[in-house]
């Protein structure tokens, strides 16, 4: 187990390093730089000062070395756009994105897995309806669900159509703040969770049907085990393997999906921040966002692997042995 964790840690480190360095250099080589944000009337001296402050007067390699030297000490430089250290900005945005992603994944799991167990183990009109709904929601990616939900929110005015908090709520107590966030949360969470729930339902349904066809399930039925127990105790555990494998990959899809959802519903997460940084050529903010994104990815895929190991002893042995 120790060796496995060490390898994953190394992978996470490499991922964060490669992703953040690549985006730093990409943003650096892009045409134009952050001094365009100074406006058309900036004097040459002001432009030169700004360039010097963000190390843009050095060669890309020298800038990368400087940045890497500081990043090791968890100093990711300053953001031009926000005129603040990148670390705080990025940490906050990543927390918002992670909250959105975790709640959405939890909701998708709670809805998708039981429904999949249901449709995978029996036929009839109810299962057909669930299957049809799944197919429908599979065809509505987060871009469309978020637009549609914003439209519904705008017409019915039941929920706020965007943002994470209402204006002015920051001055109040934390309980009021939490309540306000809770009101803003359902829309982006639903937009993100619906397609994932549909995917999980389809997967669980198929793998449940496969598991029930295997000899051990047939034998259990022949021994007279109640059908409900065959599904819940015997087949479910075996059917979990492909699902857990998907959780490892889901984190990428979750981040991709959360970008659009954050954009459409104005959720102040990593996606929006990265977009703003990229457009403004705010190099250090770009690389900070990328590093944070890489960290979320590595963490997510680690959890996926651990889940997989928990569900299937064969994988656990292989990973520990490797």
């Amino acid at each position: 187990m120790g060796r496995f964790l060490a390898r994953r840690l190394l992978f996470a480190l490499i991922l964060v390093l490669v992703v953040s360095s690549a985006s730093l250099l990409l943003a650096r080589f892009a045409p134009g730089d952050v001094t365009a944000q100074l406006g058309p009337f900036a004097t040459p001296a002001e432009i030169a000062n700004t360039r010097a402050r963000f190390d843009l007067d050095r060669s890309p390699a020298a800038q990368w070395l400087l940045w890497a030297g500081r990043a090791i000490r968890f100093d990711f430089g300053d953001s031009f756009l926000y005129n603040r250290p990148v670390r705080g900005l990025v940490g906050r945005a990543a927390a918002n994105t992670a909250a959105l992603a975790v709640v959405a994944l939890a909701l998708a799991t709670i809805v998708g897995i039981p429904l999949g167990m249901f449709t995978g183990s029996r036929g009839g009109p109810a299962a057909a309806v669930v299957r049809g709904a799944s197919l429908l929601f599979l065809s509505v990616p987060p871009l469309l669900t978020s637009l549609f939900l914003v439209f519904i929110a705008a017409t019915t005015r039941l929920l706020p159509a965007g943002g994470m908090t209402s204006a002015g709520v920051l001055d109040t107590e934390w309980s009021a703040w939490l309540l306000d966030v809770a009101i803003h949360l359902p829309l982006p969470v639903l937009a993100l969770a619906l397609p994932i729930a549909a995917t999980l339902e389809r997967l669980q349904s198929q793998s449940m049907a496969d598991a029930l066809h295997q000899p051990f399930a047939v034998a259990a039925v022949a021994r007279g085990v109640a059908p409900r127990d065959v599904i819940a105790r015997h087949a479910w555990r075996v059917s979990l393997r492909p699902i857990c494998a998907v959780y490892g990959l889901a984190i990428g899809a979750l981040l991709s999906g959360s970008f659009v959802v954050e954009f459409v519903t104005a959720w102040p997460g990593l996606g929006r921040l990265m977009y703003e940084a990229l457009r403004a050529r705010d190099v250090y903010l770009v690389s900070g966002c990328a590093a944070m994104g890489g960290l979320l990815l590595a963490f997510g895929s680690l959890i996926g692997d651990l889940l997989l190991a928990a569900a299937d002893p064969r994988i656990r042995d292989a990973q520990v042995g490797a």
Partner: protein
């Protein structure tokens, strides 16, 4: 289910192909007094002293530009004109037009016509990128599977890495480091290249596995013994085995690329606004306060949904019968 999906897909493609004929108005024609005008209501009537019964519209008149209020000019009913000007149906401006089947956008352009033309750009880009990704993936995967060794190892590591990355962020980063304002043709080529770059590793990974197992079969040894060149063995004899897999991958990549274009254009990093695509049209929907008043700005979202649904139906229609546990 499967057939329904195929028919829907074929219908969408033919509509895109016939866009100039089906669209009532040119996609870039600006109707200055009809910004965010609602859809024109079709009426089946024979107004007094106006001739035979048929489909008519009342021309829309601007009442208040500030409040975006319009009313129907009931004194001048205009008859729909079929098969004129090389269009299926239209109402010329001089005779009480325009015919706005899905309303107008923020510049007073016909949403329905733009939707049809947008299908060309969106689906065309997705199709080109898919073909490109499949070609690169098949080639790289084929070589890796056939050659084995270091090439194979490197490819496996690389595809593992790419598969972990959230694709839209990579596309966003690659697109945004290019100049933000580009000519439409350049954007098309650039987005096509970026999408292909993101799509090929997944294809290559699957093709590699197929070729590696095909290589061990007897027929491959026989061709080798006959003295065929490696390139010939790979292209003519081994790659056809991956055809089915490539077909499945195409159905996964195509909707993903349609969505990627829509997302990038929606956030302002895709095509310029002058080009009608589903993504650039969706920008109108980003105005939340107007969304409730002008729901037709969501029409491109519905179009994207139809494409994804059609592909999903065509692929997943083969539902296996669930096992019956209860007697």
């Amino acid at each position: 289910m499967k057939r329904a999906g195929r028919i829907l897909l074929a219908a969408i493609v033919s509509v895109a192909a016939a866009a100039p004929w089906l669209a009532p108005n040119p996609p870039d024609r600006v109707f200055e007094d009809l910004l965010y005008a609602p859809p024109t209501r079709l009426r089946f009537l024979a107004p007094e002293g106006f001739g035979a019964a048929g489909l008519y519209i009342y021309p829309q008149r601007l009442v208040s530009r500030l409040e975006r209020r319009f009313d129907d000019d009931r004194d001048r009913p205009a008859r729909l004109q079929w098969f004129t000007d090389g269009r299926l149906v239209t109402v010329p401006g001089a005779q009480g037009g325009p015919l706005l089947l899905l309303g107008a956008d923020r510049f007073g352009r016909d949403t329905f016509s733009r939707l049809l033309y947008g299908a060309r750009a969106s689906l065309g880009l997705a199709a080109v990128s898919t073909l490109l990704a499949l070609a690169i993936g098949a080639l790289v995967g084929g070589v890796a599977g056939y050659a084995g060794g270091i090439v194979d190892d490197l490819l496996a590591r690389f595809t593992d890495f790419v598969l972990v990355l959230p694709a839209i962020y990579v596309a966003l980063a690659l697109r945004s480091v290019m100049p933000l304002v580009l000519a439409p043709a350049t954007v098309f080529a650039l987005l096509g290249a970026i999408f292909a770059l993101l799509g090929w590793p997944i294809v290559a990974r699957g093709v590699r596995a197929i070729i590696a197992s095909e290589r061990e079969r007897d027929y491959a040894s026989a061709i080798h013994a006959l003295g065929a060149a490696p390139s010939r063995i790979l292209l003519r004899h081994l790659l056809p085995a991956a055809a089915g897999y490539l077909g499945v991958q195409a159905t996964l990549l195509l909707p993903a690329f349609v969505l990627a274009e829509a997302t990038l254009s929606y956030v302002g990093l895709g095509f310029p606004d002058s080009v009608p695509t589903w993504g650039t049209m969706l920008q109108d929907a980003s105005n939340v306060s107007l969304l409730a008043e002008a729901p037709w700005t969501l029409a491109p979202a519905a179009a994207i949904f139809m494409v994804v649904l059609a592909v999903n139906l065509a692929v997943q229609g083969t539902g296996r019968a669930p096992v019956q546990l209860e007697p």
